[in-house]
């Protein structure tokens, strides 16, 4: 499959979903999401040990995760979430909330290792261009865990991914490129249109192109 084909919504596999564009598991979590606040009051009174927010409504997806942690066992006891986004965003956050609270709760160290692919695997599949939605869930969780570390006096355990500057003039980082690729800009031209990378700092173009290929293959499979 070419990347152009992968961009095409009509090419989304239906698998068991028949007329549905998503798998049955996605559908189940979308229509019956788990671990939501039951009432507004519950949300107001919820005493979380850590809260993480990522994204913004402007970019189309935003997620907020609340976690409660057992300090002795370091397991996630409870989790709540809210998501602004499409079906796969809602379903993947719901699935993530199940993954970290099932079987007595996931250990923090393990929860920090969750990758977008792990969530997608549990959802059976997502259309490739929807991967970016589930990426946000694990980021929100990592942030919530970091906040817990900070609040519980374990600042040394906080890990925030650093970013490397690629375009020196516009201060565009590898993370920015990753974001752009996840948002569907899978060619240099498309990433440049989104970020203006390499417009002034032409010396960064070869490295940028390499990174775009790397992230494209990472999220959308080999060319």
């Amino acid at each position: 499959m070419t990347s152009a084909e992968k961009d095409n919504y009509a090419d989304v596999k239906t698998k068991t979903g028949k007329e549905w564009f998503y798998t049955d598991v996605v559908k189940k979590h979308f229509f019956n999401p788990k671990n939501l606040f039951k009432t507004e009051k519950e949300a107001e009174n919820y005493k979380a040990d850590g809260v993480g927010i990522v994204g913004s409504p402007a970019c189309g997806d935003m997620m907020k995760m609340w976690i409660k942690v057992d300090p002795k066992t370091e397991r996630i006891k409870d989790c709540k979430w809210q998501t602004f986004g499409c079906a796969s965003a809602i379903a993947s956050t719901s699935m993530l909330s199940v993954m970290i609270t099932e079987k007595g709760g996931m250990k923090l160290d393990k929860a920090l290792q969750i990758k977008p692919q792990d969530i997608v695997k549990r959802l059976v599949d997502l259309p490739p261009r929807k991967f970016h939605c589930s990426v946000l869930g694990d980021k929100a969780l990592r942030e919530a865990i970091n906040v817990y570390f900070e609040k519980s006096g374990q600042k040394d355990r906080v890990v925030r991914q650093g970013a490397k500057i690629i375009d020196k003039q516009l201060k565009i980082t590898d993370k920015d490129i990753e974001e752009a690729v996840l948002e569907g800009a899978t060619t240099f031209e498309a990433v440049q249109k989104k970020t203006k990378i390499g417009v002034n700092d032409k010396s960064c173009i070869p490295e940028a192109e390499q990174l775009i290929r790397f992230y494209r293959e990472k999220y959308f499979g080999p060319d």
């Binding site: 961009d7 409504p57 935003m62 602004f84 986004g85 079906a87």
Partner: protein, 400 residues
């Protein structure tokens, strides 16, 4: 269509009217001739095409030899724009259009800018999606060869002042094309009254067959074909004529135009009810597009704090088919360029839903939408971390 399905996506495409199908039927197996063949089979097919051409010409107040049949609205637009500007390069290389055109127009213009060194002015629209004749007048240059502005917008339903823009174009001797694909069912298509030199229509939006389109081309206009071959359609569109399609297109347009006044009235009542009920029953919602200068069947509504695809899929559970301007339903992951062009911020653009009504839409359908939508919105809002205010979203633009 499934019997229970409430189809409110007529701006995407319409079903074939059974009367149109009946008219087309005999041109598949029985009258299958090639209109270009000089034998009786071919001549009968030619007669059918000629008759269709005459029917359409009469509706448009044009002459039959001013009608070119094509394979889609998109193809007609490509022919109109590429064909005219390439043939009139000696006059100049400037095109005027708007930011809210269909991608058939926008992408064609972008192609011409990129590969053929044309210059394009994209006129901005106001909050209601309107462009003014004054804007067009200001944008006209000595080297302007073509103005292409849509009759009615496919997403927000706003109807542009085509007649007035046509006057400006005429006065400045610039050719004027209008993409009337969304207007075929409800608007007067008299090209003399509209002051247009080229007009695009297609079958799939007017209860006609898919894969059919036409371009009205005023006599005497210099134009190059974009498809070359056997020289059909006076050399402007080679390829054996789609006889059943052409017959169906003419019949569909005929029915639309005959029933238009009565149908418009019926649809306006239903649409207004839908808009009023949604915007009063559901907080933080508002109508996009012009309140009155709009297609009778279009209701485009922004619902804050939630995302369009999610709303659409929940509605689909109740067998309601609508469409959304959300990024998730597009190929680009960007929200609708039209919703952004009328000044809505990104966060609001993601939550826009288009209901487009049609011939089979009943009051019962509208009531069902009004019944289920408030709870869907409530449910999705309960799981959303976003809490926007209408006044912040509309900002200083205008508060409806």
């Amino acid at each position: 269509m499934k019997s229970k399905e409430i189809y409110l996506d007529h701006s995407a495409t319409t079903y074939l009217d059974p009367r149109v199908k009946e008219e087309m039927d005999k041109y598949f197996c029985d009258e299958f001739g090639n209109p270009g063949s000089f034998n009786t089979t071919g001549l009968r097919a030619k007669k059918a095409v000629d008759k269709a051409r005459k029917t359409i010409a009469d509706i448009l107040n044009a002459k039959p030899n001013e009608i070119v049949f094509t394979g889609s609205g998109t193809e007609s637009i490509n022919l109109a724009i590429k064909g005219v500007v390439r043939a009139n390069k000696d006059k100049g290389k400037h095109i005027i259009t708007t930011t809210i055109e269909h991608h058939a127009v926008l992408d064609t213009c972008e192609y011409l800018e990129r590969y053929e060194e044309f210059e394009v002015t994209y006129l901005e629209v106001d909050r209601d999606g309107l462009v003014t004749p004054e804007q067009v007048k200001k944008a006209i240059r000595k080297d302007t060869v073509l103005i292409s502005i849509m009759f009615a917008n496919n997403e927000i339903g706003t109807i542009e002042p085509i007649k007035e823009i046509g006057e400006v174009a005429k006065k400045h001797k610039v050719l004027f094309h209008t993409d009337a694909c969304q207007a075929g069912c409800s608007q007067d298509l008299n090209v003399e009254k509209l002051n247009v030199d080229l007009l695009t229509l297609n079958g799939s939006k007017i209860y006609g067959p898919k894969g059919t389109g036409l371009l009205y081309l005023r006599k005497g206009i210099k134009i190059h074909p974009i498809i070359h071959g056997g020289g059909q359609e006076r050399g402007l569109r080679s390829g054996t004529e789609n006889v059943p399609g052409i017959v169906g297109l003419a019949k569909a347009l005929e029915i639309c135009q005959k029933e238009r006044n009565k149908e418009n009235k019926r649809l306006i009542v239903l649409r207004d009810k839908l808009v009023k009920e949604i915007t009063t029953k559901i907080p933080k919602t508002f109508l996009n597009g012009h309140p009155t200068k709009r297609l009778p069947n279009n209701a485009n509504i922004t619902i804050l704090d939630i995302e369009g695809e999610a709303i659409m899929l929940y509605m689909n559970q109740y067998e309601i088919c609508a469409s959304s301007g959300s990024a998730c339903t597009s190929k680009t992951l960007d929200p609708s360029h039209v919703i952004l062009a009328i000044g809505l911020p990104y966060e609001a653009a993601h939550g826009s839903i288009r209901f487009s009504l049609g011939r089979r839409t009943t009051e019962k359908d509208i009531n069902q939408v009004i019944k289920v939508l408030p709870d869907i919105v409530k449910h999705l809002r309960s799981m959303s971390p976003v809490n926007l205010e209408v006044k912040d979203v509309l900002g200083g633009i205008k508060n409806d």
